[in-house]
């Protein structure tokens, strides 16, 4: 109703409309909507809706919208009609719902649109990029194509050149051939000319010879005072057939001598070589024989036979006479056997190589680790030592400097060096001393550990011995005490265990059987204390024993307290005291004795009332 009131005032309406448009608040929006729907006078609104809805066709437009919406799957704008005749009413809730949904849809669509737009942009940039890439690649293709053409051109040129060169080579070859032919022809011609010339020369020579020699030249003569004897003192002999034969003989003699000499040399060389070969063979055999067992086990039969061959050969060739035979008979055998052995040796060496490499591969890791640990320890130790030494040196240097500053300058400068040297020497000595000491310490430590080990062993042996002895004792004792049965059981249970338990048992004995074992156990205890070896570890051993005996004594006390009850208390007490007295000097004995006496007294107290 109020709305209608405001509608009457057109000015206020326009203002409100104005404000609603500027502010767009939800309330004003609502009023505007209302205004819009109710007042068609507003030009803006009217122009906005004029295309679709006017006052006249509200019904149609509603039905149209309903139809549209239902086709889009929205619920109908009309209320469900109860009857078919009644006109369907507009359902405002449905309208609002629809509108809301539409608005949501709109928002969604806007969002989607935005997304699509950004995607579009992205795709556009991608496209640009791809296009630029494409153009670039195109350019590249073009350049490479050009390059290829260039290369092809070059190739063609090179081929051309090659062909030319081939041609040139061929030409050169031809030329060489020609030149060689020329040389050959020239040579023949030269030879021919030479021969011709020589013949002429010879003719001339001959003529000259005739001219010069045949004419009795008076000048050609020897003017000699007297003839001298021959160098060898013999007289010249006439030339006869005999001398000719003799000369021949001598010549052949010389030749023969030469050949014999050479043969001798060759024989000597041969003998030397044979000797070397033989020695080599022997060495080879001796080298190969120790391993022939192993390969025979593992390796297939072929090598086995070869080795047996080797042995045979060795047997054969050890005969010296073989070597004096001519080469042809021995050669084949010899070379064959040598070759065989060589092959064996080779294979053996190869095998060894393989083994070595394998060992290297396998054994490297663990060995290396151990050694590295050792190394590290060692280096750490050494570093520590070095550090110590360095510190020592530093302090000494400082001391030296302090000393040096006390002197005046020139003397210090003079003395410093010698002092330093002296100091160095001394330090060296100290260092060596220190090392010596360290070594000694190490040795001592080692000996100590050894001694400890030995002691432990001895002790064990001794304990075993004692155990056996005690067993004997107890077995003997079973005859005169019924209580021993328990004791024996206990003992047998502990017999295999460590000495502490045995000791406990022993410490118990005097307390458990105060009457019955009184004559036996004190002897045993005294023997125990006496026979204990005076070793460096006795003190701590005693301590632990005492500690445990204390503990055990308490246990024992419980037992004894129960056991004691039926027995006479006074006798018990005296007995205890006696047992304590039987072990003079032993701490734990005293202690246990004291504690016993104390607890006993306590027990006495408990029992007395």
């Amino acid at each position: 109703m109020g709305d209608w009131m405001t509608v009457t005032d057109p000015e206020s309406k326009t203002i409100s409309q104005y404000t609603s448009e500027t502010k767009m608040s939800p309330s004003s929006l609502y009023s505007q909507q209302v205004l819009c729907s109710s007042i068609p006078l507003s030009k803006n609104v009217h122009s906005f809706f004029s295309a679709f809805c006017t006052e006249d066709n509200i019904e149609q437009s509603i039905s149209y919208l309903d139809q549209e919406l239902t086709t889009f799957g929205f619920p109908s704008l009309y209320e469900e009609s109860k009857g078919k005749e009644t006109k369907r009413e507009l359902n405002i809730v449905a309208v609002l719902n629809c509108m809301n949904e539409l608005l949501v849809l709109q928002r969604k669509n806007l969002l989607a649109q935005e997304n699509v737009e950004t995607q579009n942009l992205k795709l556009g940039s991608d496209m640009d990029h791809l296009q630029s890439c494409y153009s670039k690649l195109k350019e590249q293709l073009e350049t490479s194509r050009r390059e290829m053409i260039g290369l092809q051109e070059r190739d063609r040129q090179l081929q051309c050149k090659n062909r030319n060169l081939h041609q040139l080579l061929k030409n050169e070859k031809d030329e060489v051939q020609k030149l060689q032919n020329i040389i050959a022809s020239r040579a023949t011609q030269y030879n021919h000319d030479m021969k011709r010339k020589e013949r002429e020369y010879n003719k001339l020579k001959e003529r000259l010879h005739q001219l010069v020699m045949n004419k009795k030249d008076k000048k050609i003569a020897m003017d000699i005072l007297n003839y001298v004897g021959r160098a060898d003192g013999k007289r010249g002999s006439w030339r006869t057939g005999k001398t000719e034969a003799r000369n021949e003989d001598e010549m052949y003699k010389i030749l023969l001598n030469d050949y014999e000499y050479r043969q001798k040399q060759i024989l000597m060389e041969n003998a030397e070589l044979k000797k070397v070969l033989q020695q080599m063979k022997k060495e080879m055999i001796s080298l190969l024989s120790p391993q022939k067992k192993k390969p025979r086990e593992r390796v297939d039969d072929s090598t086995g036979t070869v080795i047996s061959d080797v042995e045979e050969d060795a047997g054969e060739l050890s005969r010296e006479s073989m070597w004096d035979l001519s080469c042809e008979t021995v050669r084949e055998q010899l070379t064959n056997s040598i070759r065989k052995q060589w092959r064996i040796l080779k294979s053996h060496v190869e095998k060894l190589d393989n083994q070595v490499s394998k060992v290297h591969l396998e054994g490297f890791n663990d060995e290396d680790v151990i050694s590295r640990q050792d190394h590290e320890q060692e280096t750490e130790k050494l570093e520590l030592e070095i550090q110590q030494c360095k510190e020592m040196i530093k302090t000494q240097q400082q001391l030296l400097q302090q000393l040096a500053t006390a002197y005046d300058d020139d003397t210090t400068s003079l003395l410093r060096d010698c002092y330093l040297l002296e100091e160095k020497e001394r330090l060296k000595e100290e260092w060596s001393l220190f090392k010596e000491q360290k070594k000694n310490f190490e040795r001592e430590r080692r000996s100590f550990t050894e001694a400890a080990i030995r002691l432990g062993l001895e002790r064990k042996a001794f304990e075993e011995e004692r155990a056996s002895w005690l067993k004997q004792q107890f077995l003997n004792m079973t005859t005169f005490d019924h209580q021993n049965s328990e004791n024996v059981k206990l003992f047998s249970a502990f017999s295999g265990s460590s000495d502490w338990d045995n000791l406990i048992v022993h410490s118990r004995q005097p307390q458990k059987k105060p009457h019955s074992v009184s004559n036996g156990s004190p002897v045993c205890m005294s023997k125990l204390t006496k026979s204990l070896p005076a070793s460096p570890s006795t003190s701590d051993f005693c301590q632990t024993r005492s500690c445990i005996s204390e503990h055990s004594s308490i246990n024992v006390l419980n037992i004894t307290a129960e056991e004691i009850k039926p027995n006479q208390v006074g006798g018990e007490c005296t007995n205890q005291k006696w047992s304590v007295a039987s072990r003079p000097g032993s701490q734990e004995g005293c202690y246990s004795g004291c504690s016993l006496s104390y607890t006993n007294s306590h027990v006495e107290k408990d029992d007395l009332p």
Partner: protein, 435 residues
């Protein structure tokens, strides 16, 4: 090492007698014989003309003096100074004269190599040998003096004749498969004769004493071939130096090549010791170290001192660019010499003329290289020990031994005599010294 005072000498003629006791030297037409130890003149002979060649007989009793210009040979006896002998070759002329190994025959080669005349001093007999070949080394005697091999040329073919020296009887005569034989050389044991062809072809042939062809060796074709050949004293190796700058060592069993020694100009192996001669400007009183101070007036004081430095490898040696369009180009191994114990071989490559290579034959590798400041003219091994003397034409003598090397200043000009304590060392210790 000591040096005597300087003698006058002409035509570089100066020779020790084979027994090492005497020294013969020539001054113009006079022949002077001195005692080696005292250097006093023992005999003085006067010849008819200027002496061009002298040679001791093998027993050191006679000296041959050849005067080629007049076709004359005069022989003098050391024991009998009044004894004389004159051989005139007359119009045939004379180009070479030598003793036979027995010291009682003289072999004269006439001009144009028409023939060789063998004159005997024992009998009046004269023998002629026709068709000797005009070549570098056409006559060779075995070391024991029993046989002579002579290269001959008849009807455009090479032949070798082997004569028995005792009565000049022809023992063998055979043709060799060579184009133009250049040299022949007996092995020291006298059983193998090496024959090599002209430098146009690499070919070396080995003949036995009885004329059988033992082997032929050719390293390559169509190039300049053998330049020098040397037998090792043990007859075990034959070293062949060729124009390709390599020495090939052949063995005496198969006559195949054992190894090949190249002579590159750059030495890279650090094991090889390279001695480099270095000159130093003189200091006062310097010379006393390596030689006794030169007598006053004996010669000009040395202008500089030279010594060896051990160069650190790699070393590149000075090389000559050979003139290839002239005959006898300066390339290849021109000189070869085995040490008397056959352990070392000294070589010179002609296009690296300042260097001497010393090879270890036991290990068949290069042992040391000596680079001199001037070209090496000659080298000679000491006959007693592995010591090499090198002469470069300067006033110095260089000595190498496996222990090291040294240079010795020779006082004065002319000739020099190393007076080692070992007389035998003098036997062939003759060095020529030109300039």
């Amino acid at each position: 090492m000591n040096f005597s005072e300087v003698f006058k000498l002409s035509s570089l003629l100066c020779k020790f007698s084979p027994d090492g006791k005497y020294l013969a030297s020539c001054v113009q037409y006079r022949l002077v014989v001195r005692d080696v130890n005292t250097l006093q003149i023992l005999q003085l002979y006067t010849c008819l003309d200027q002496i061009q060649h002298i040679e001791w007989s093998a027993d050191s009793l006679f000296i041959l003096c050849a005067m080629y210009k007049r076709g004359l040979v005069q022989v003098w006896s050391l024991e009998q100074p009044e004894w004389h002998c004159k051989i005139d070759e007359g119009s045939a002329g004379l180009v070479a004269s030598c003793w036979s190994p027995d010291g009682r025959h003289i072999l004269n080669t006439t001009e144009f190599h028409l023939r060789i005349t063998v004159w005997s001093l024992c009998t009046k007999s004269v023998s002629y040998i026709k068709y000797p070949k005009a070549c570098l080394q056409g006559i060779t005697f075995t070391r024991d003096g029993r046989y002579m091999a002579l290269a001959e040329r008849r009807d455009c073919k090479d032949y070798v004749s082997i004569f028995v020296c005792s009565d000049w009887q022809l023992l063998r005569h055979f043709d060799t498969d060579t184009q133009d034989l250049t040299g022949i050389e007996w092995a020291p044991n006298g059983c193998v004769l090496a024959v090599w062809d002209t430098c146009l072809e690499y070919k070396i042939l080995l003949y036995s004493l009885d004329g059988r062809l033992l082997s032929t060796y050719s390293a390559y074709e169509w190039s300049l071939g053998i330049k020098s050949v040397a037998w090792s004293p043990s007859s075990q190796f034959l070293a062949v130096g060729s124009y390709d700058g390599k020495v090939r060592i052949l063995n005496h069993v198969t006559w195949k090549m054992i190894t090949e020694f190249g002579h590159p100009a750059a030495i890279n192996d650090p094991k090889i010791v390279v001695y480099k001669e270095a000159e130093k400007s003189p200091q006062l009183g310097l010379g006393c170290l390596s030689f006794p101070p030169p007598r006053a007036g004996a010669g000009p004081l040395p202008s500089s001192e030279s010594k060896y430095e051990i160069a650190s490898v790699p070393v590149s040696l000075q090389t000559l660019k050979p003139v290839t369009d002239r005959a006898n180009p300066k390339i290849g191994i021109g000189m070869l010499a085995f040490s008397p114990d056959s352990y070392f071989l000294a070589t010179r490559n002609d296009n690296i003329p300042n260097a001497v290579w010393v090879w270890d034959i036991q290990k068949l590798r290069l042992f040391a290289v000596l680079e001199q400041l001037s070209p090496v003219r000659a080298f000679q091994w000491d006959p007693q020990q592995p010591r090499l003397a090198i002469c470069t034409g300067g006033s110095r003598l260089y000595l190498w031994s496996p222990a090291g090397c040294m240079s010795v200043q020779v006082p004065g000009e002319g000739k020099h005599i190393p007076e080692a304590t070992d007389v035998a060392a003098l036997l062939c210790a003759v060095w020529h010294h030109t300039g």
